[in-house]
Subunit: 111 residues, 2 copies
Amino acid sequence: MMAGMTDDDRVFKALADPTRRFLLDRLFERDGRTLTELEAELEMTRFGVMKHLRVLEEAGLVVARRSGRAKLHFLNPVPIRLIHDRWIDKYTERRVSALAELKTELEEEMA
Amino acid sequence: MMAGMTDDDRVFKALADPTRRFLLDRLFERDGRTLTELEAELEMTRFGVMKHLRVLEEAGLVVARRSGRAKLHFLNPVPIRLIHDRWIDKYTERRVSALAELKTELEEEMA
DNA sequence: ATCATAGGTGACCGTATGGTCACATGTCAA
DNA sequence: TTGACATGTGACCATACGGTCACCTATGAT
């Protein structure tokens, strides 16, 4: 556990690394994966992946549960929503989400 | 401009620093501030603040416009919404946002 | 023109961060 | 109980990042 770090500090630092975002993507696709399962999808040693999962857990973005010798990992989206609510108020939410969807659609048309 | 960095890389890295989040908070409160104005609220030299604003700009979280010798800074919330949409789908959005609001309310009661 | 104001650049330094490895613990199956 | 499997710890190294400074450019007021 790191000292002098607030909750949101941990969340944003956790999201700052592309490997950790990739892990969240995999768990968003399907929950309950083990370390070894996740490791198989990355060009990295088990130790690197383990460190990343720990950071995600300490940020509350991932919750884990043991099952025998395996450890199952689940995505917790609440901290993500809190980021949203920090800089997007109820009044602008509709307009901004429409813009975001438009951007996504345009990029899909390009590809 | 940093090499080998994707758009979302820039956004998440930009959000990873507490000073930069503080700057976004100030701009969320009131748009169109200048560098010197923002510097006055921070215990840091102008150069540090300038670097941070540059990172936010390159991430698209802040857009700036010149006005005479001043440079006005504005918050752009679209990248924030895109983060939200990446890990929270339409079906779970209602439930998650309710949980997030509950958490905020509970913390406000504590204080 | 002069001077103060507002913003900008490049180099520099200490520390935090990502990644690996040697080694260790706990669990299931035969 | 032997061995293979799944996860865990601490030390270590290279690099990225936050912050400062000496120096520079441009705009506005008098």
